[in-house]
Each structure stands twice: as C-alpha cells, then as structure tokens.
Symmetry: C2
Subunit: 482 residues, 2 copies
C-alpha cells in the first residue's frame, strides 16, 4: 500500500495537540445550537464537494461510485443528526431533582445533572468506509457534537481522500468561526500511538482490526491517567436459519445471504461470516448459494494489504480438515465454504475467526442440541441474525439466546446496513468491541461525555442548559419529584 | 488489623464463581418487578436485623450508633430506590425507532433498544461505610437491580459484620426464591485479584484507595477479555471561598467547614481536604476554624491501619516547609493546617494529596490570578465547592471553572453528604474515579448493563420490555418518529 502522505513528525504532532488542548474550553463552551452549526457546516461543505471527493475515494478504495455517493450522503446526514441530537437536549441527559428536605437519608439539595464534553478526542479512522467511518465520519461527528476537539489519525488506505476531506472540514470550521485546534488530521502508526498516550487526549475511538484496537486500548488503559477507549473491532455475525424458515423460503434466504456477505466485497464489519442451516436443507441451500455466488461479479478489494490478509485467512479456513470449498475463490473472486456444527464446536477458534473479505462459511447443524452448543461458543459479536417462523419454539429460543453475546439481534433480515438512529446499538461484548456505548447512532455521542451534577447553584450561575426557565428549550427529565 | 475470617481458598472461590455463572441467565431473565422484589427482600431483612447489625458495626468500625443507624437506613432505602428504578423502566433506557423506509441512508427497519445485564459482577467493599458501600451497599444494589449476580470481596476492616450481613442477604434471597449463586461473599486480597481476573466476572466496582483501585483496574484491562472496572478512589474536594462570602459570613463558613471535614472523623471520600480563603480573611478564618476544631470531641478512626496511614499522611504535610500547624493533631485529635496558594502552585503534588482522616489544609490566596493557577492544578475531583455571592463575577467564574475537573459542583454548602437520587453524580475524572457513570444514585445501575438492539423482531418474540402494548408499563422513549 503506497502512502502518499508522510507521517506526522513529533514536533508537528505536539503543536496539533497543544492547539486541541487550547481549543477544548472553547468547544466545551459552545451552546448546543453552535455545536450543531459546526456539524452542519461540515456536512454542507462535504455535500458540495461530492463530485471531487467521490472519484478520489473510488481511486483509492476500489469501491463503486453509487456506494460511495450513498456513503457520503450517510456521512453528512450523520453529522446533521448528531448535531440536532444535542440541540434537542437528548444527548445531554439532563436530570433535575428539586430540593426535598424529606428525601430519605438526610434530605436532598437541588441537584441538576448534565453531560459535559471530556476534551480532545483521538479518532482512528477505518479503511472500509472512507467517508462514514473516516475523517468526517461518525466518531468525528459524535466528538464535535459532544463539544470535543478532534484529532483524526488517517487510515493509510485512502491518504489523499483523507487529506482532501480534512482540508474541507478545516475550511468549513474556520468559516464557521471555530477555534484553531478544533479539528486536525495526522498520519502514521507511531503517530497514532503517540496520540493515544498523550496526556492532552481524553478519549479515543477506533474502528478496525482486533489487534489494532486492542493494542491501542492497552496503551490507553496503561497511561498515568487512563482514558476511555472505544473500539469496534468486527466479528463474524452468525446467522441461524431454522428448519421452518428453510422449509418456507430457502432460495430467498440463500440469495439474501450471498448479497449480504458480498456487499462491498465482504468488507463490512457486519458481514455474515457464518450461516447455520439444518442438515437436511444443507445441500439445496449450498446449491442455491453457490449459484448466486457464481453470478456475482468479482470486485477488487480495498487495497493489496486487505487482499493479501483475506487470501491468507481464507487459506487457513480452506486448509482446515473440517472445511470444504463449495465455490473456490481467487484473490478477487468470492468463495463459499462449508463445514458442520460438530466441527465448529470441536474447534471453534479457527472456524469462528473473522475472514474480512468475500468469503463466508455455511455450517450444517444436526439438531437443536448442536445449536445449543454452537451458541455457547460465541462471546462477543456485533450482530446475530435469526431466520425463522414466528411460531417456532426454536426461533423464540434463538432470539433470546443470541442476545447474550450480540449487540444487535436481527430477524429475517441481514446484518449489513446499520441505520444511523436513536435506537441503534453498534457494538457488543468483547472481542466485537470495547466500550459501553454504540459507535453508530445518536448514543455514540455519549462516548465523549461525562456527567457533572450542580448542587444548589443559584439559577443565574447555572449553565443555561440547567436553568429554571429552560431557555434553550431542551428535553429534560424530572428525577424524583419532591 | 485482626481478620477474624480466613481468606477464601481457591477451590471455594471457583465453586462460588461457577455458581454465579450458572445464576447469570436466571438473574438476567428476571422481570423488572422480580428484580425489585429481590432488592426489597434484602432491604426488609436488613432493617429487621438493625439491632443486631448496628452494635456489630460499632464494635468493628468505632463509628457512632446514630451515624450507623442512619447509614443502614440509607442502605435499605438505596436497595428499594434502585429496584424501583428498574420497575419504572428508566434504568432500562428503552428507545423505540419504528420502521421508516424513507429514513436517510437506506431506510430504517424497526429498531428497539434496551439495556441488559452484563453478568456476574465483582464488588470490592469499602471500609468507611460498613453498610452503604459494603456487602449490601450501592454496588450490590445496582448489580442486582441490573440483573447481575454479585460476588462481594469483603473489606477486612469489618469482617464479622460482613459475614453477618452476607448471611442475611443470602437468606433473604433464598426465601425470595433466588437462584443459588446470585450473591456470595469472599475474603482476602489474593481472592480479590483472582476474582477480577476470572473470565466469569463481567464487571467490577470498587470504592477505596487510589492504589488499590488502580491495581485492580489494571488487572481488569489486561485480561484476555477486558471488563469495565468502575473505581471511586477519593479526592481532596477543594472548597473556594470568595471575598464576598468571607466578608458576609466568615464564622458560619468556618464552622461549616470544620463540621464537614470532621464528619465521620474525616473518613469520607468527599471530605473537604483543602479550603481556599482570601489572604485578608485568612487569620480570622483560621481563628474561627481552630476554635471549632478544638471544640470537637476526638473520635477513634475506623481501625489501626487507617489511623497509622492518616498519621503518616499528616506528618508528610506538617513536614512540608510551606505548611504550618494551626491546630496540632494527635492520633485521635483532629488537626488544622495552613499554607498559601503560592506554595501549593509551586508544589501541588504533596499539598493536594488526600489525607484520609481528621485533617484539612486551609490555603490563603492573594488574588484571582493565583486562584486561576490553583484551579489548573486539579485534574480529577469528586466534588468542588464554591462559597460566594451570586452577584460576584469571581463566583460565577469559579462555578464554571471547577466543573472542568469535578464530578459535582456545590454552592454555599459542603460536599459531605451524597444524596441517593436520579440527578446525583458521584465520580469524576481520574484520579478521583474510573468509569463513565456515577457510583451513587440511580444511574449507578448503568455500570453493569450493556445495550442490545432488536431489529424487526415479531412482537411475540420480543422481550416483554419492548413489546408494542408495553405490558410492563415501562417508561420508554421514542427515538425518531417515522
């Protein structure tokens, strides 16, 4: 992978960190409306630059134009939505407890809580979504909406697009009157390590590989002052097809499965990497899926690094004695593999490893007892999907059982496609993710905030968000009534 | 300190962990009302045993009977309040996004999110609140309310009380039909380390020293599967007195200060350890405070370990060349020390170190420029207090400035006394605490939960909390309307 942009040098990084540190009080003092305006200014500027940015992204990522246009639209929608979530007040989680001398355990003073920004945030951009999870993606939108300066560590897969996006963000922020230091872009692996260990950084957000995410999280936890480090590290997103569903609509499920795991050439963290199908339906399912795979045009992967890593991961699966190739892939052509639940339960490590790219593994299960053992092999997945009939006891059991390890449970659909909204959870127990909050949707803002309670403060000295007259017209909750 | 109860041996701990692991699905499946019933059953049993528990606590902690009776009442109130927070639905943070084909970026399926329990929780009990922050304290209440089994590592300062409280909790849970393994008590430092590193533990909560909290947090972060570790590690809780306030009511502030820092013999994590007073008012303030200190009866500290540590920390302060003794303490008698803001800014490390026990330091400041430098020396405090006049610009600046490093900002009051309610934040940036949530009040439940989103699930397969008819009558939020 050619990096056209040199790594940020130490002196330059220090100046960027100093500027972010200086900008932090300015960002924190921004009213909700002003934060929204910054997010919208960036969104407007990116939308206006679509015809320049999309071809650049195409060249650097091999992704198709319609997908990239859609992704850019998602990105600017996301900026506006997160900005508006602050304006509504919902992202501030304001709770008001009026004074109550009779409150148990000694009475209660007037208590007013809201969420405030942590300070400068380090964002580690992903390679597979050059807009939505990169320089001006969800993490940047969430941090700015929270009132935090952002330093983005560029993904090396699309350096020119990153530079150009950053220039547009900087100029939009400058035109909107933002403090110097509210946003910056840096490059280089060592730069990323220096960023997450610098005392001026107060939180981190990462989307990418398990190894990369864990290494940075370990650095964040070992600092003299540890910081929260939110990492979304992917998963195999198991899909479970019940006997009822396979009897009712096997061909449609096979087509949907192939379309989902080959979306974006399989380079989604929500790609279904494993699909479980009843033994009796396995051969017809594999026939239908194989036809669908062979009918899909091969697509270049994001870059040579990804292509090589995918080929190696696929080779490890193919070499496993319990795995057979149903459709043999090449570096560009997709592959379909098959194994049995008994094999997977006997050797879950290699068979449940993520294979990032256009490969997926169909797993045949003999009975419900085997499925029960399968479900216990998973500890943390972004998603789990059930294809079933609503009146099947097995389907009801699966919906309940997979919630133990998944961040999102999907019914008769596909895990690819993560709606940016309030009820979305994109995350899951480790190793899918690290952190208590979603990395997509409006609650992603919460990653960069902390609660502060004001006790018995005269109204005129309170932040406007907490004043009696609610001058900003924010959504606020009554705690416990006096 | 005599430990009357032997350390839990490895085989016993393993059996306890296995039972907690088995109990986790049972606890998770409890309806909100059933979780509340468990919390209330424990509260009722503890209230009924007050006449047995309070004398036991007196003997082991040297705390006075009225304080201990009040603390037990707070503890049982806390159990009931947190149980009810789940019944109301508020602790589940339910958000419903109806399907919307026109939602930007590809439409939106029906999405329903709630918070689910993490699994077995390790609670590390504190020594200074033998009821409210110990075996059946806030962490245990929050974990049970969240739907998590609890294993409490007893504080060695009150072993018999811990044993007796645990027996009451176990018997109340058994009578209420709880699964074996929903609650257990263990003993020993090594046991605590084994607990936090065991793969069956999914979260930790700690109240105590910086060193202890950090050591356990480091173990939690270094596990093969890292877990959230919430630690409340105390702070010096600075108090700032403006010229206006000292002119208006210096004697009352001096009396309030002394009463607050000597409450519970200064063994509160919210004890005001530093008070800043204008130079011109310093001598009258110290005179008034010294009179008040001398008029306070000495009290035994919790145990010899605390007394020795306090004497050593006080000695380090007294030996500092910039510190003078206004009232010299003894091992039991309280002390009042004084220094200047210039000294503190020049050498903040030793002068802002927590001195747990009946000692506090009055700091004289010359002007606002000095206060500005002082404020910058703090990075993380549980609380900060301002005594001022509402129309003083300095007071307005202080309220705003101390919010940068404090979890709670108190006006014309005292930081000791932490109301158990919805708007409370008990925590703060590191080193005061680790974790994104309060350790006191209803949001403390959130430490032991994670979000799960259900996508397009048929109503009859959804958890009752998310069904269309809202059969449990829970508070739920609309996400974004279709």
């Amino acid at each position: 992978m050619t990096t056209l942009v040199p790594d940020t040098v130490a002196g330059e990084l220090d100046a960027i960190l100093a500027a972010a540190d200086r900008a932090a009080p300015w960002c924190a003092a921004l009213a909700p409306g002003a934060r929204r305006d910054l997010c919208c200014a960036i969104a407007d500027a990116l939308d206006a630059a679509a015809d320049e940015l999309v071809p650049l992204a195409q060249r650097e990522t091999h992704l198709a134009e319609p997908r990239l246009r859609g992704e850019l639209a998602r990105t600017t929608f996301q900026l506006r939505l997160l900005g508006n979530e602050v304006v509504s007040g919902r992202a501030l989680e304001i709770v008001l407890d009026p004074a109550d001398p009779d409150w148990p355990a000694g009475g209660r003073p007037d208590l007013r809580r809201l969420l405030v920004p942590l300070g400068p945030v380090a964002v580690f951009a992903a390679g597979n979504f050059p807009f939505a999870f990169s320089v001006a993606g969800g993490d940047t939108a969430a941090a700015l909406a929270a009132g935090c300066p952002v330093i983005v560590k560029a993904h090396p897969g699309h350096p020119e697009l990153s530079q150009r996006t950053a220039a547009i963000v900087r100029s939009a922020l400058a035109a909107a009157g933002a403090a110097e230091g509210a946003f910056a872009l840096v490059h280089g692996v060592e730069t990323g390590r220096a960023l997450v260990t610098d005392e001026r950084i107060t939180a981190g957000a990462f989307t990418g590989s398990s190894q990369g995410g864990r290494a940075l999280a370990d650095l964040a936890a070992a600092r003299p002052h540890p910081i929260p480090f939110n990492a979304e590290m992917g998963s195999v997103n198991p899909v479970f097809v019940t006997p009822g569903a396979s009897a009712a609509r096997l061909p449609a499920i096979a087509d949907g499965y192939v379309a989902s795991y080959l979306l974006g050439a399989g380079q989604f963290c929500t790609k279904p990497g494993l699909l479980f199908v009843p033994e009796a339906a396995t051969e017809p399912f594999l026939d239908a899926a194989a036809r669908s795979v062979r009918g899909t045009d091969p697509a270049l992967l994001l870059n040579q690094h990804i292509a090589t890593a995918h080929a190696a991961a696929r080779e490890r699966l193919v070499q496993h004695p319990g795995v057979r190739e149903v459709v043999a892939g090449s570096e560009v052509a997709p592959a379909l593999l098959a194994t049995s639940a008994a094999q997977l339960v006997a050797d879950p490590g290699p068979l449940t490893e993520e294979c990032f790219g256009p490969t997926s593994l169909v797993v045949s299960y003999a009975n419900e007892a085997e499925l029960d053992m399968v479900v216990r092999t998973f500890t943390g997945e972004l998603t789990a999907t059930v294809h079933g009939e609503a009146d099947e006891p097995l389907a009801a059991w699966l919906v309940q059982a997979v919630g133990r390890f998944a961040g999102r449970v999907v019914w008769n659909g596909w895990p690819t496609g993560v709606a940016v909204s309030a009820a979305m959870q994109h995350g899951g127990p480790y190793p899918a993710a690290l952190g208590a909050f979603s990395s997509v949707g409006t609650t992603s803002i919460r990653r960069f905030q902390r609660p502060v309670t004001y006790q018995s403060i005269p109204d005129e000295l309170l932040p406007p968000e907490l004043r009696a007259t609610n001058p900003l017209n924010l959504q606020r909750q009554d705690g416990h009534r006096a």
